[in-house]
């Protein structure tokens, strides 16, 4: 593990000259795919992203055959053209035939990818000396870039970032409500065209680092991960860029350190890990959050149920009296184990004082708390007996649960709606703090 970290650190220190190229190359390529991918996700076109990325392969191969050399610009142009044709065909088939969208996607993806692999095999058998390394486009190899490539990517990246920033409002509106965008006169067809060209170019460049097979994961996963953290589309976009750029750099660092490993799978492993962690801990829908919430709810229920035990006791006995654990257990019909857990919570919150040998008694604050929970319980019993037409002997169980949810505001509403009642449906007094 230490060794691994050391290797990664030595990568990030740019000790080897080629490392700089890999670093900036992956940063730019992955960063813009996170940016563009946000709208692919929001427009529910994730599968189209997959079609494009697989369909750039025949374009790369054809560009190589026609250009007779590995010139990056030719390759990107070739990739963009076939990628573009593939999305156009999917939309065309969906619109103009009985074939549904998912079928059209599967059809076009396999035809284009198959053709790509065929052409690639042909090139490899042709004995062309410079063909070596074309297969890197299948799984990506960031280390195959040179500084000129990176400058090209950076230039294209800046254009994509600026155009996306300018058209952000338009992209947002066509993603949310295309019909409305049309109705208010936005140039919807143009926006869709520019967005889809941007997506195709992003994919065509990104396959250098990630490869055609996994490129769509890099398009979709960062924004899917970011979705767990925010409901604001601007924050979402920025987070997606940060996630994907980080995965790009980290993934290529790993693959660079262990020579010969393709870059794409590592980048995708890192970004998937981020997505997984986001699903667990994300602030919006995170599982961890709901786990913590459940814990804090359980604590509140335990606390309120335990303090409630003291209410009838403080009515009969002298308030100063200490009650032993056993007395409390009998009085409340609660197992000692649960009771002592509840008592320690109460003591922690200074609602009771004492200890297991001396016994326990409520503090002034504790008395107020016990009255409050009983009050909520009885108010609720009265409320549902009146508004749900329930018999008095049917209201207790419901109130046992609801009493813990009622906030001071709701309590006030209940009091007002019931006109400050004195007795609950069982003719028991509703304890107010001051009357």
């Amino acid at each position: 593990m230490m060794n691994f970290l050391k290797e990664i650190l030595s990568f990030l220190s740019f000790s080897e000259p080629n490392v700089k190229v890999v670093f900036w190359g992956s940063l730019v390529l992955c960063g813009i795919s996170g940016l563009v991918g946000t709208f692919t996700l929001l427009r529910k076109r994730s599968l189209i992203g997959d079609v494009i990325s697989h369909s750039v392969l025949p374009g790369i191969a054809l560009a190589f055959i026609l250009g007779k050399q590995k010139n990056l610009i030719y390759l990107i142009i070739g990739a963009t053209i076939t990628g573009w044709i593939s999305t156009y065909l999917v939309d065309y088939i969906t619109r103009n035939s009985k074939i549904k969208n998912d079928t059209a996607i599967a059809l076009i993806l396999s035809v284009f990818f198959g053709t790509g692999v065929l052409l690639l095999t042909h090139i490899q058998h042709s004995g062309n000396a410079s063909q070596s390394g074309l297969d890197q486009f299948i799984f990506g190899r960031a280390s195959a870039m040179n500084m000129t490539d990176v400058w090209l990517f950076a230039g294209a990246g800046i254009i994509i970032i600026i155009s996306t920033a300018i058209l952000f409002r338009g992209y947002t509106l066509i993603s949310f409500d295309e019909g409305y965008a049309r109705a208010i006169g936005f140039p919807v067809e143009w926006l869709k065209l520019i967005l889809s060209i941007t997506t195709v170019i992003t994919v065509a460049m990104g396959v250098q680092a990630v490869g055609v097979v996994l490129m769509s994961a890099l398009l979709i996963t960062p924004s899917a991960a970011a979705r767990f953290w925010t409901n604001n589309i601007r924050v979402l976009t920025i987070l997606a860029v940060v996630f994907s750029a980080f995965s790009g750099v980290f993934g290529s660092a790993i693959s660079y350190t262990y020579q010969g490993m393709p870059t794409g799978p590592w980048i995708v492993v890192v970004v998937s890990l981020i997505a997984f962690i986001s699903a667990l801990t994300g602030s919006k829908t995170g599982l961890l959050k709901s786990l913590l919430l459940r814990r804090s709810n359980n604590r509140k229920i335990l606390k309120e149920n335990t303090i409630k035990i003291f209410y009838p006791l403080s009515l009969q006995g002298t308030p100063e009296k200490y009650y032993s654990l056993e007395e409390l257990s009998v009085a409340s019909d609660t197992p000692v184990k649960i009771l002592s857990k509840g008592l320690s919570v109460l003591k922690n919150d200074h609602l009771i004082e004492g200890n297991s040998s001396l016994g326990f008694r409520v503090t002034a604050e504790g008395r107020r708390e016990s009255r409050a929970i009983v009050r909520k319980h009885r108010l609720w019993e009265l409320y549902i007996s009146r508004f749900m037409n329930l018999q008095p002997d049917h209201v207790h169980d419901d109130a046992e649960g609801i009493e813990h949810v009622i906030t001071p505001e709701i309590e006030k509403e209940l009091e007002e709606e019931l006109n400050f009642p004195l007795l609950d449906p069982h003719e028991k007094e509703i304890p107010y703090d001051q009357l």
Binding site: K44, S175, F176, G179, Y180, R182, A183, I184, G185, N231
Partner: protein, 260 residues
């Protein structure tokens, strides 16, 4: 009614979906300053009609005019409320963000929201009683609240003509009442409201003018004249047999509807 006094004029408006007319030769003049209902059974082309008028769906034959002008010349005077279910309410946006979209009609793609725009957005939220929810995520809204947000967005456009697609579907009674009161107060300001609706019980009470359709136009006129047994039977009592036979023939044999 003369064309220059009309809010909407459609002329032989026809939209073909999948080689079959979804609306066929819809031809009417609608008045200004009224609450107008468009009614017909499911699949009778009510939404398609609105979309064709708004230029969202390109009509195959015919045209429509708004305030006696082509749509593009008066687009800023027209506001459209799509069906609530037509969008994904899980989209990352707040209530305020959605209502702000209403101002984009004026601002276009680039211009920023001014103080006045922000004031209009707040005012629109207040009109539908959603001001306390301005920062709420749209995914957390009830059906009725979603509909109010869509209405607020339309009001924020400050238009003269409002086209609403089924605003009363799936909303609670209090929202329904709030919406109809809102429509009436907009009407009192001289605005024209065109509402796709399908509840026959409330139709007479809500609308001053009714358009009854079932792919074809059955009737268009003041509510008390149009809302009678004969028209209702014509609208809801099944399609015209010969007409639908012809429509099916067009589809089966791929005949063009018009040829030159």
């Amino acid at each position: 009614m003369e064309a220059q006094d009309s809010s909407i004029e459609t002329h032989d408006l026809t939209v073909i979906y999948n080689k079959k007319p979804a609306i066929w030769n819809i031809d009417f003049l609608l008045p200004k300053g009224k609450i107008i209902g468009i009614m017909g059974p499911n699949g009778s082309g009510k939404s398609t009609l609105l979309k064709a008028i708004m230029g969202i769906t390109e009509p195959n034959i015919g045209y429509s005019k708004i305030f006696n002008k082509p749509l593009d010349e008066v687009r800023d005077r027209v506001s459209y409320v799509p069906q609530r279910q037509s969008v994904d309410w899980d989209f990352p946006a707040s209530v305020y963000d959605v209502v702000a979209m209403g101002r984009f009609a004026k601002l276009g793609l680039l211009k920023r929201l001014t103080e006045e725009d922000k004031h209009i957005i707040k005012d629109s939220l207040e009109k539908v009683k959603m001001a306390p929810f301005a920062n709420r995520q749209i995914s957390q809204l009830s059906g009725g609240q979603q509909q109010r947000v869509f209405l607020a967005r339309a009001i924020a456009q400050r238009a003269d003509l409002y086209l609403m697609d089924e605003p009363f579907v799936g909303v609670d009674a209090s929202t329904e009442e709030a919406i109809i009161n809102l429509l009436k107060s907009l009407r009192d300001e001289g605005k024209t409201l065109v509402v796709v609706h399908h509840d026959l019980h409330t139709a007479q009470h809500y609308f001053e003018w009714l358009v009854m359709m079932n792919t074809r136009l059955v009737a268009s006129g003041p509510a008390e004249e149009v809302f009678n047994e004969q028209v209702l039977t014509d609208t809801y009592g099944g399609t015209l047999t010969t007409l639908s036979k012809v429509a099916n023939l067009l589809q089966e044999k791929s005949f063009p509807m018009r040829h030159k």
